[in-house]
């Protein structure tokens, strides 16, 4: 007699088969629940505090909205036309351009140099990384106040002026002198101090991804250590990291606010777009229609520049 064949009608057998699946299904449901419980609040926060305001800003940009966040009078594209012909807004884009011209290449070169130096250190490597990374944890506002009150104030007991005094150079009003525009030195150096460590860490990560065999092969082929190896091995291998650093840097430059606001205030010769838009929409002017239009124009410019930069440098191409 052959052994009885178990059929699907056999409850015991069905139970054996369904048991693990049920457990798995229950497990998935549990995981999904926990996923939403952890992620949900943040998604909700993103929707409420980011996407909804962007949508509302889009609506407001087509309306007159003085001293109110409720659209009061439809004006079509007039706010956009006004902002694109507003010399102060255009001048703020000019301020950004000057800032970006200073800060993007300087941050790139100096953070790469720091990464190369720190990566080669044989002793106390963690210490050196921490030393350069620590300023990243400092608030822009606090750093700006230290720069303004202690280092770059215009009187004789400011650190910079004290040092100049040793060489017989007169006090300089760093933040108030427009001709020559000394205010760029505090503005650029405070951001460099604050962000170099972060980009240094990105470059260190990039450097550690480079296979040592590439260097060995280069030496075998006669490449000289130093510039030649850096030029033909290190730099090409850091392409993905470099593009990321450049893009992040440029976007961060567009978003410059804290150091400008705290160091020079809302002055027209050093007013980046966010300070200008803050002044007209969230500051005392409270013109939220024009402010919203300006913010959206700025967002579109950032997107276009990022896409363009992406296209030029080919970020994310195969083989990177």
């Amino acid at each position: 007699m052959s052994a009885p064949v178990k059929t699907s009608a056999d409850p015991a057998a069905a139970g054996e088969r369904r048991g693990p699946r049920r457990r798995r299904q229950k497990g998935i449901a549990g995981n999904t629940l926990w996923f939403w419980l952890f992620v949900g609040p943040f998604v909700l926060g993103l929707l409420i505090f980011s996407y909804l305001p962007i949508l509302w800003s889009l609506v407001l940009s087509f309306f007159e909205a003085y001293n109110t966040v409720t659209p009061s009078k439809f004006v079509g594209l007039q706010n956009y036309v006004d902002m694109l012909t507003d010399r102060n807004f255009l001048s703020s884009l000019g301020t950004f351009t000057i800032f970006a011209v200073f800060i993007v290449p300087l941050t790139f070169v100096l953070s790469l140099a720091l990464a190369l130096l720190v990566n080669q250190v044989k002793v106390a490597r963690a210490f050196f990384r921490s030393v350069f990374f620590l300023p990243t944890a400092c608030s822009y506002v606090v750093a700006s106040l230290i720069w303004k009150l202690s280092i770059f104030n215009g009187v004789r007991f400011g650190l910079a002026n004290t040092v100049l005094g040793w060489f017989g150079i007169e006090n300089i009003a760093w933040l108030s002198t427009v001709d020559p525009p000394w205010y760029w030195i505090p503005l650029v150096t405070v951001r460099l101090w604050l962000q170099l460590g972060f980009y240094m860490i990105l470059f260190i990560a990039g450097l550690q991804r480079i296979s040592p065999t590439l260097y060995e092969a280069a030496y075998v082929d006669g490449a000289k250590p130093g510039w030649q190896v850096f030029r033909y091995i290190t730099l090409p291998q850091l392409r993905a990291t470099s593009v990321a650093v450049l893009i992040l840097n440029l976007i961060a430059a567009y978003q410059a606010f804290d150091e400008f606001y705290n160091l020079v205030g809302n002055v027209n010769y050093a007013r980046p777009p966010l300070v200008y838009l803050y002044g007209i929409s969230l500051g005392s002017i409270q013109d939220l229609g024009h402010g919203s239009a300006g913010a959206l124009i700025l967002a579109v410019i950032i997107m276009l520049v990022t896409l363009l930069q992406n296209r030029i440098f080919g970020f994310g191409k195969a083989g990177d």
């Binding site: 001293n67 102060n88 104030n153 215009g154 009187v155 933040l175 108030s176 005392s284 002017i285 013109d287």
Partner: protein
């Protein structure tokens, strides 16, 4: 852990999941809250009481915050929570007034935009009985279309204080014209001391007084730009001359609203408000004189900016009547508190004529001189002058003073913005 054990408790993973989820929820719900200045409870003062939120900017004089809290605590008809705001009070207030979570009662300066967008309520009913006891300028600065929207709390004349000893040593008389001022600032400048401090921005605070001292005004009575013409252009050019003379202090650790620069001997003269007089007297004693902003020439009059703060009631308050009642109590009925606020910390002129007449601390010395200058040359703000106009005016001054731009061309640019704004507001 064996699954068959009843009530076996939580596994480590379960515990982590649950506490993590709760923490995330708590963080989210906390983020959804906001500090409106109101206490989370009624403060223990009785369940039926209304709670009012009263907003102040940060005054520089020691003791002012405690004084504001003392007044609030002394009020028995409502719980009053004082919110003291360091930093950019103007922006915070503007944002606060957009929602019902802003202040019920707040201090500020009126502009017509606040009235047109229904942010403040008229206070004619609470001020009616004592209206005659206020100076006409202090009523005008809070009046739009015949309605009074605020109760003046303090008057803050802004003038030039100087070190008598330094001027005497240099053989200089107190300047009477802008040319005298420029010459004096140059003469008083040494390698250790600058002639004058007018703010780290190079003198934007001087813009309106300089305009008045040149015969102009920000707006004319019939709501037109009043800052064009030869006199104002010449005066703005003089401000540039002062800036370029290298006799003004720039980059001071504290700005012009704080007496730090003159007290530390960094300058011989400083543009500042009367609020700083007690602080300056404490350090400099009687070595302190005062002048108004000097006239352009003999055909014009000097000017004093008669600034100050006013108390308003937010139209978005859920308790407008209770807020009005509190304002009436504090800034109209409680004369002892008004006197305390004006005279026991920094010096301010009490807006009520009857109180100002009794203010003994303002009846001698440099304080008395400042009060006199304010009476003779004081100018208050025009509520039709909006922040947008102020920004255009400030940009014009920056371009002239700091960049040396042609004053007439810059005035024309600012006039365009001001005209656009006037068209929007008055048609």
């Amino acid at each position: 852990m064996p699954a068959h054990v009843p009530n076996a408790g939580l596994t480590r993973r379960d515990l982590l999941k649950r506490t993590g989820g709760l923490a995330a929820l708590a963080a989210f719900t906390a983020a959804c809250g906001g500090n409106t200045g109101r206490p989370s409870t009624d403060g223990g003062g009785g369940g039926a009481k209304v709670t009012l939120s009263q907003w102040y900017h940060q005054y520089g004089e020691a003791g002012t915050q405690q004084a504001a809290q003392k007044y609030a605590k002394a009020y028995t008809d409502a719980n009053v929570a004082v919110q003291w705001t360091p930093g950019d009070y103007g922006s915070k207030l503007s944002s606060g007034l957009l929602s019902s979570k802003g202040p019920d009662v707040f201090e500020s300066q009126l502009n017509i935009g606040m009235v047109k967008s229904n942010q403040v309520v008229a206070l004619d009913d609470i001020i009616a009985d004592v209206k005659d006891d206020f100076l006409p300028g202090d009523l005008a600065t809070n009046t739009v279309d015949g309605k009074i929207y605020g109760v003046r709390m303090i008057i803050d004349p802004q003038v030039i204080y100087y070190r008598k000893s330094m001027l005497d040593k240099a053989g200089i008389k107190p300047p009477e014209t802008i040319d005298d001022l420029i010459a004096a600032a140059k003469e008083l400048t040494t390698n250790k001391v600058k002639g004058i401090f007018v703010g780290n921005d190079g003198g934007l605070a001087l813009g309106s007084p300089a305009l008045w001292a040149a015969g102009g005004d920000r707006l004319t009575k019939d709501h037109k730009p009043g800052f064009s013409g030869e006199g104002p252009a010449k005066m703005f050019g003089k401000l540039r001359e002062l800036y370029a003379s290298k006799s003004i202090l720039l980059g001071s650790p504290t700005d012009w609203t704080d007496p730090g620069a003159i007290n530390q001997g960094l300058v011989a003269m400083q543009w500042i408000g009367m609020w700083a007089v007690p602080g300056m007297q404490k350090v400099l004693g009687d070595d302190l004189g005062v002048i108004p902003f000097p006239a352009l020439d003999a055909s014009n009059k000097p000017a004093v900016y008669s600034g100050g703060w006013t108390q308003f009631v937010s139209a978005k308050s859920a308790n407008v009547e209770a807020a009005k009642k509190f304002v009436k109590w504090l800034w109209i009925e409680k004369e002892d508190f008004q006197e305390d606020w004006s005279l026991n910390y920094g010096f301010h002129i009490p807006p009520r004529k009857s109180l100002a007449a009794k203010a003994s601390k303002l009846q001698s010395g440099v304080a008395a001189d400042t009060v006199k200058l304010n009476q003779e040359y004081g100018h208050t703000d025009d509520p039709a002058w909006t922040p947008k106009m102020g920004t255009a005016f400030g940009d014009m001054l920056t371009n002239v003073i700091k960049k040396g731009a042609d004053p007439a061309a810059e005035i024309a640019k600012a006039e365009k913005t001001v005209n656009d704004e006037l068209s929007r507001l008055f048609g």
